[in-house]
């Protein structure tokens, strides 16, 4: 019997013939934390008696959520992480370097790796074929100390996507549509594995967007085959030697197959306060917004900023709309500068934030006021997520977000493009 991608990776990393439902101990190839989960991880690690890191060069502390820090308490948490990095020899990613998930895919994760991060969107690296999953501080502390942890081998859902997207429609609309269809707990504990012609043709940026949001359907991982596109991506990153072809066996067993016709998808939006509360952008026409955010680990890549720049070139956002752009990493920022996107966006009235998580988690740089609504390219719109439980968050693609910024209300990008 063939294996799914999840079964293949966990078999190799556990040295067993792992099948869905098995509990295995698997080697962890990369363990990381960020600045809001890292301090607890460090404390748990220090109290555990494990003493030394299993692999300091594959342990990374990212300062991205509150970067630069908005207050003394968080600054002190940053000091704790810097001190731990010095003492333990692990890698520190500093304020301004960018979002953990972006840097993990740019610089660390390899196809076939097991990656654990103290952040639920660790699943992003599934886009390049790594079994990447979010865990809490204690679990990541154990992975840091022992170089391994226990995993339940997940059952997999095969998501088969065929057909060409319409203009103005893309990876974000696909994943919002899927989550709307199966629900925020529709794939709890499962591996979502993406197949079909649409996926084969899709670039890495779109694959990361989809993998990033697998957790919003409750999934443990969102996995893509590592193919020629992945190889080219790693080569461009100067990591060609990290490539390893990975694909599920043709006779792998899936708990469920879900077929999606990409050609039938339309620009999709999640309404407050859950990600699975989806509607078509055109159905929300007239919904006023006071802020638009383009960025985050879901959609802060060069391709996303390019889409926004193309829509906003020579134009201005509607009055009373604050347009915030946060590149996902220093690398993305530099490329967006080189391509002239940042200039275009600043001229169009955008506010550019330093590379990092931006206002996504409500810590700084764009907290909403009472009754305000924001359209964001982020992955989560829970009540209070952006710092104010009396505000409203809608989620969309960069195309829908940029188009809506122009109009001051939720807008189907096909009206503008």
């Amino acid at each position: 019997m063939g294996k799914t991608l999840a079964e293949k990776i966990l078999s190799e990393k556990s040295g067993t013939d792992a099948k869905a439902g098995d509990i295995v101990i698997a080697k962890v190839d990369l363990a990381f934390v960020q600045d809001t989960t890292g301090p607890l991880t460090v404390r748990q690690f220090q109290s555990s008696g494990m003493g030394k890191l299993a692999n300091a060069q594959r342990t990374v502390l990212f300062i991205d959520h509150a970067a630069p820090s908005p207050n003394a308490n968080l600054s002190n948490d940053h000091i704790l992480l810097r001190d731990f990095s010095r003492q333990s020899g692990c890698i520190l990613s500093e304020v301004g370097d960018g979002i953990c998930h972006q840097i993990v895919q740019e610089a660390y994760a390899r196809p076939g790796d097991v990656v654990v991060g103290a952040d639920s969107h660790t699943v992003t690296a599934g886009g390049l074929g790594a079994f990447a999953t979010g865990m809490g501080s204690s679990d990541v502390a154990v992975a840091m100390g022992l170089g391994k942890n226990w995993f339940r081998v997940p059952e997999s859902f095969k998501i088969e996507v065929n057909g060409d997207f319409q203009k103005g429609v893309g990876a974000k609309d696909l994943i919002l549509h899927l989550i709307g269809m199966i629900g925020a707990d529709g794939a709890t504990y499962k591996s979502l594995e993406f197949h079909g012609n649409t996926i084969k043709k899709m670039g890495m940026s779109g694959r990361f967007t989809i993998a990033n949001m697998a957790v919003e359907a409750g999934a443990k991982v969102g996995l893509f085959a590592a193919d020629a596109t992945t190889k080219k991506f790693l080569e461009t990153e100067g990591r060609g030697k990290d490539f390893k072809a990975m694909e599920a066996d043709a006779d792998a067993v899936y708990k469920k197959t879900i077929k999606i016709d990409a050609a039938k998808l339309e620009p999709t939006v999640s309404k407050p306060h859950t990600v699975d509360n989806t509607a078509l952008a055109k159905e929300l026409k007239g919904t006023k917004i006071q802020q638009v955010v383009i960025g985050t680990c879901t959609n802060g890549r060069l391709e996303d900023i390019a889409v926004a720049a193309a829509i906003l070139k020579g134009k201005k956002p509607a009055k009373n709309v604050r347009l915030i752009i946060a590149p996902a990493s220093r690398r993305v920022m530099i490329e967006a500068l080189d391509k002239g996107y940042i200039k275009t966006l600043v001229e169009a009235g955008a506010i550019i934030l330093p590379p990092g998580c931006g206002p996504c988690m409500g810590l700084h740089q764009g907290t909403l006021g009472d009754g305000e609504a924001c359209l964001s390219t982020a992955n989560r719109n829970f009540q209070g997520r952006m710092g104010n439980p009396k505000s409203f968050i809608y989620l969309s693609s960069p195309a829908t977000a940029a188009s809506s910024a122009l109009k001051g209300e939720i807008t189907d990008p096909r009206e503008v493009m």
Partner: protein
């Protein structure tokens, strides 16, 4: 035997309801952080909850972030177990890793304020208020071992390793 009162919540209680991101600056000051437990779902919860009480949720309890602070502040509030119809994956693991039991059962049969008695070994929830007895799903063996040691860090401290 665990005894206490049920504090009932609806479906989809997220980690942002349990401990909002806007309090991230208190994460190295746990007693202060814990004052905000479940604030965005019930602003008076921290004042009402008594040691030993239970949180009774609906579907997909604890969805969202990987923040272990979510089950941690619930534990610090004195809650002795969480009951729900279903629970999000990371939250489930985090709670067990802190030695906080999460029990899956049909919570529609429990009302807010009911007095409950939970027998972890027998797998039963006795609702003293309405006289009904519910059974809860088995906790996977590996998690039970961790729970019985008082959490993952305690487990590793004792065994120096992790085994299944």
């Amino acid at each position: 035997m665990l005894k206490g009162k049920a504090h009932k919540f609806g479906d989809s209680i997220s980690t942002d309801h349990i401990i909002p991101g806007r309090y991230a600056h208190l994460r190295s000051n746990l007693p202060e952080l814990a004052k905000h437990v479940l604030e965005d779902a019930d602003v008076n919860f921290a004042k009402k909850v008594k040691a030993g009480d239970f949180i009774v949720g609906g579907n997909n309890f604890g969805l969202g972030s990987s923040r272990e602070h979510a089950p941690l502040v619930i534990k610090m509030a004195g809650v002795s177990a969480i009951l729900a119809k279903s629970v999000a994956r990371i939250f489930f693991r985090n709670a067990i890793n802190l030695g906080l039991p999460v029990l899956i059962c049909d919570t529609d049969k429990i009302n807010n304020g009911d007095e409950l008695e939970i027998d972890l070994t027998a797998g039963t929830v006795k609702d003293k208020t309405n006289g009904k007895t519910l059974t809860f799903g088995k906790i996977p063996e590996v998690m039970l071992k961790i729970l019985n040691e008082g959490g993952l860090i305690e487990y590793v401290k004792k065994h120096g390793d992790i085994k299944v």
